[in-house]
């Protein structure tokens, strides 16, 4: 197989990997915030439910969660889903897994805002939603950028787990090409792809961090 054809095939997988990455972040970042707020709510039942959810998501392998989401509907409920579900199973599993990690990061970020900020807002008459949106949330974002960057970088590499349910992302394609062609070339390209992808993400995150440098906490 020519190099051009190989790259062509790999690039299809690449597109899928990027799509998994983007969709996961798009849904898990807001979902994580919601989970964090419920985890911090005064409602005991809600609080404990979230505690359990986070604990399970962090305590079991992502690949196992992926298999449960993919096969669960059929084996547990007898629901037959179209082959398209493959891809969505990956997104669902990734979103609920990453939301749990993000939730804990948000929680830490919110808890690290000094109580004086809440008090100042209270005395000035801000409502609790105003206090959160205007005062607490922006300061939380600044604090959590470094740990969020860590998770986002892990996510790039985690997208390769989609091969477990035969979604043809980058790694699946590379593996198939490598065994068909009996050469390492595809792996090398795959490695370069993940590395460059990470470089771009790290660059973007660093820029966000710099943009928030106009003030100090």
């Amino acid at each position: 197989m020519g190099l051009g054809l190989m790259l062509n095939k790999l690039s299809e997988g690449m597109a899928t990997s990027v799509l998994i990455f983007v969709l996961t972040l798009l849904f898990s970042l807001p979902l994580g915030l919601l989970v964090a707020l419920m985890r911090m709510s005064r409602h005991k039942v809600l609080q404990n439910l979230m505690r359990i959810y986070i604990s399970v998501m962090r305590g079991t392998p992502l690949m196992l969660q992926l298999l449960v989401v993919y096969f669960g509907p059929y084996y547990i409920f007898g629901i037959k889903l179209s082959p398209n579900y493959r891809f969505w199973a990956v997104i669902i599993a990734f979103v609920i897994n990453y939301a749990a990690y993000f939730a804990e990061i948000y929680r830490g970020g919110i808890a690290s805002v000094p109580s004086g900020q809440y008090e100042a807002a209270k005395v000035l008459g801000y409502s609790s939603s105003q206090t959160f949106l205007k005062i607490i949330f922006p300061q939380m974002i600044k604090r959590i950028i470094p740990p969020i960057t860590n998770e986002v970088i892990t996510l790039i590499k985690d997208t390769s787990l989609a091969f477990a349910v035969a979604v043809t992302e980058m790694f699946t394609v590379a593996k198939a090409l490598a065994s068909a062609e009996k050469t390492m070339t595809a792996y090398v390209f795959a490695g370069v792809f993940y590395y460059v992808f990470n470089l771009i993400v790290a660059f973007v995150m660093e820029n966000i961090e710099k943009r928030l440098n106009y003030y100090r906490l």
Binding site: E119, G125, Y126, I135, Y215, R216
Partner: protein, 254 residues
């Protein structure tokens, strides 16, 4: 005219019982009251109860005739409905020991945001007033700076401007100079003295005894959750009658 009164307030925490054991304080319009006393005596807790940052166990809290809290029939404190409290909150301001400025807002935004977003006042009017306030605080050139770029004294002056921008009828100060380097306390005391000359009603918790004597009309000495002695500031500080007041002042003069 009475601006503020707190009557027979009691408060205890789970970690420390009986922080406030039935204290009462009433402040008239234009009056400057200094609260002095050893640390742990309940000065700050009194201020925090007055500014609704802390709930009282029992007692009554009144601003300009409007009750913010009172003793309920079951012996617990009843707080006024949220709407009333919102109205009451616009009557007072609080200056914190640690400034508590919003670090992500510029100086001007720190001062203008609450009047615009909470009091829903006209932007142009608020900005104009804020710039006048900053000028008065000697911070005209700092409107676009962020809190981290300012000295402690400058930050505290911004926080005073922020409180004043709400047009409060009474201003509380919780040890406004305690977090500052000694050479910076002067500028804050100067600002407060100017406000006193303008007949701003103020309650100041402070360790600056000489400042209290000069600026306050009345000094209240607190110890162990009760008011030990109060009266004309000159008299209380120069000629206290109570032994505990004498002992406290003697320690400071060492």
């Amino acid at each position: 005219m009475e601006i503020f009164s707190i009557n027979d307030v009691r408060k205890s925490f789970s970690t420390q019982t009986d922080v406030l054991c039935g204290m009462s304080l009433s402040v008239q319009k234009g009056e400057v009251v200094a609260i002095i006393g050893p640390s742990g005596s309940g000065k700050s807790t009194l201020l925090r109860c007055a500014t609704l940052l802390e709930t009282m166990d029992s007692g009554e809290l009144v601003y300009e005739g409007i009750k913010a809290a009172w003793n309920g029939p079951a012996g617990n404190v009843v707080y006024a409905p949220e709407e009333t409290l919102k109205k009451i909150k616009s009557k007072f301001g609080l200056v914190f020991q640690n400034f508590n400025l919003f670090p992500h807002y510029s100086v001007l935004k720190n001062v203008t945001d609450a009047p615009i977003c909470v009091q829903k006042r006209q932007k142009e009017e608020v900005f104009e007033e804020a710039l006048t306030l900053l000028k008065k605080m000697g911070l005209s050139d700092k409107a676009d700076a962020y809190p981290f770029q300012l000295s402690g004294g400058q930050q505290q002056r911004v926080s005073i401007a922020r409180a004043l921008a709400m047009n409060p009828d009474i201003l509380f100060f919780d040890e406004p100079t305690s977090a500052l380097d000694p050479e910076l306390t002067g500028e804050i005391l100067h600002v407060i003295r100017d406000l006193a000359e303008e007949k701003m009603t103020m309650v100041i918790v402070t360790h600056e005894i000489e400042f209290a004597r000069i600026v306050a009309n009345r000094v209240v000495f607190i110890d162990a959750g009760v008011i030990i002695e109060e009266g004309n500031s000159d008299k209380i500080i120069r000629n206290p009658e109570n032994e505990r007041t004498k002992a406290f002042l003697r320690k400071l003069n060492l």
